[in-house]
Symmetry: C2
Subunit: 321 residues, 2 copies
């Protein structure tokens, strides 16, 4: 649709990012607000306000609206539960459609980010399939197969961060143990550093000793600054990311694997070891066998969710017509 636009929102635990997005994925206007995570009424009001603002900017109060939110989200846009906001069986789509003009679509944050990267980011070259892992506080997943998102029977699909890669392993925020998220997230980088420090395994000349707080972010920054120990810790988490990638490739054979999220600030320090571990583990890998699909960095950065949500909303409107 030439000239078509939509509103896209990415609802995080701390901030709400929104954008007015053109059909080619260009973000025409950006808006950002803090998420009032304590109160679901206030969250709904803030979302409504942001949608209205962006629709006003567009001069069209009926523009389609796409929402990406962390959580388990049903096909009907009901949030079964969310890690950051007190939503339990919360009919977000329905409530929002009563408050704003235009059709509303709600999907998981990693799903919409994957759709963004597939449509106009790192996955643009893929003909019809792509897997995405977002490495942030946790690990999110999105899958495109046969040109569309794999949402599953209930909409809970593509939770690739909860592939179990080391049964009985470190605890995962989901309550399980050994999920990919438990070993390959930004938090896992921070935890690995904390453990190394506690075990006295960090050389005295490492800059890690001087950090005020030990988090995935600060350790990644130290690695980028050349700290050998931090580089090793990031590589260790990259290894686990590669184990997860191998599982995804064996199960789904995507044309391409895209890695996004804040953890990708580590760039090749994370991706390099991930590629090696994945290549060694795919079925039929090695010289005589199949090729490993490309494992590449996401290119849309913080816009992936906003762009993907908006484009999904546009596509949904298109398919209804």
């Amino acid at each position: 649709v030439q000239g078509a636009r939509a509103v896209g929102l990415d609802i995080g635990g701390t901030k709400l990012a929104g954008g007015l997005v053109a059909a080619d994925g260009t973000v025409l206007h950006r808006h950002r607000l803090a998420t009032p995570a304590t109160d679901t009424e206030q969250v709904l009001e803030t979302i409504t306000e942001m949608v209205s603002t962006l629709q006003s900017v567009a001069g069209d109060r009926t523009l389609p609206v796409g929402i990406g939110a962390a959580g388990i989200i049903g096909l009907d846009g009901t949030v079964r539960y969310a890690p950051n906001i007190a939503w339990v069986d919360y009919p977000l789509r329905e409530l929002l459609e009563k408050r704003v003009g235009g059709p509303v679509l709600v999907d998981n944050d990693a799903n919409v980010a994957a759709w963004g990267e597939y449509s106009c980011g790192a996955g643009r070259a893929a003909r019809s399939s792509m897997a995405m892992l977002t490495v942030g506080t946790g690990v999110g997943g999105g899958l495109v197969d046969r040109g569309a998102l794999v949402r599953g029977a209930s909409g809970f699909g593509a939770e690739l961060g909860h592939l179990i890669v080391i049964e009985g392993g470190p605890p995962c925020p989901c309550g399980n143990r050994g999920c990919l998220e438990a070993v390959a997230s930004g938090n896992a980088i921070g935890r690995a550093a904390t453990e190394a420090l506690a075990a006295g395994a960090v050389p005295t000349d490492s800059s890690l000793h001087g950090l005020e707080t030990i988090t995935g972010k600060t350790v990644t920054a130290a690695a980028q600054a050349g700290d050998t120990c931090a580089i090793e810790l990031v590589a260790g988490v990259g290894f686990w990311l590669g184990v997860g990638i191998a599982s995804v490739v064996n199960a789904l054979d995507p044309e391409m694997v895209v890695i996004g999220g804040g953890g990708m600030n580590a760039g090749e320090l994370l991706l390099g070891p991930a590629r090696v571990a994945a290549q060694e583990r795919i079925l039929g890998g090695g010289p005589a066998g199949r090729d490993m699909p490309p494992v590449v960095a996401a290119t849309l950065g913080d816009d992936a969710g906003v762009v993907g949500a908006a484009l999904l909303a546009l596509a949904a409107v298109g398919s209804r017509r």
Copy 2:
């Protein structure tokens, strides 16, 4: 297509099963031959002979032919490699189409079995999605999403037996370690019993001491006969099957999980513990969360591959028209 029929073949390492199959999945005629696994020329001749025989029975030399074979099989019907037959980049579909009448389709054995179960077996009640795991010597996988098999970008998709569930775990025939196949196959049942015997962990009154050979089959038979130790060993492998099921459910959210293959002779002794382990591990499981999809036994038995291959071939002809 009323009255439509197709030929289906299931090519195993030791036997070749074939059938003339009606569009509703009824097997009208069965044929069985030994697989001459040593020589690829002879295998091709035997396959050709079986197809010809079944087409003759049908009185139609142009019936569509569907083939299911263990191995990594490209979208064009080329076998990249197979575990039991010396096929390497072997253009099975192309070679066969030169020798027999009718269009030929070649796919992975677990994929066609999954299609059989989805079309007219245990997955019949599923509207549009289903995951299947076949527990035999190894563990095969098949996925249906949005009403069609997930074949992936190259056709290598749905190798769910090579989801890595315990990184660094027991060796898998694929060369990797800790794959689902390494811990949840019939072979894993036999290995668990061998290890328990070697460790002196099998009570003296267990019938396992009297077995001539320790294999998945004999241990499963002992479990079915009520041997407590054998029951525990089968349950231990069922646990791992459940870990794999949880990964599949988290990644793909199928409506239903179907378990087939020879290992299912153990029935609920395997499935019961698998269900418990899976339920405990799915994202958002538990009283307040999402429901676990049904995990059920396959119903087509040895016919699943033959029926699925034939119906896939019929569907392919239909979509070409």
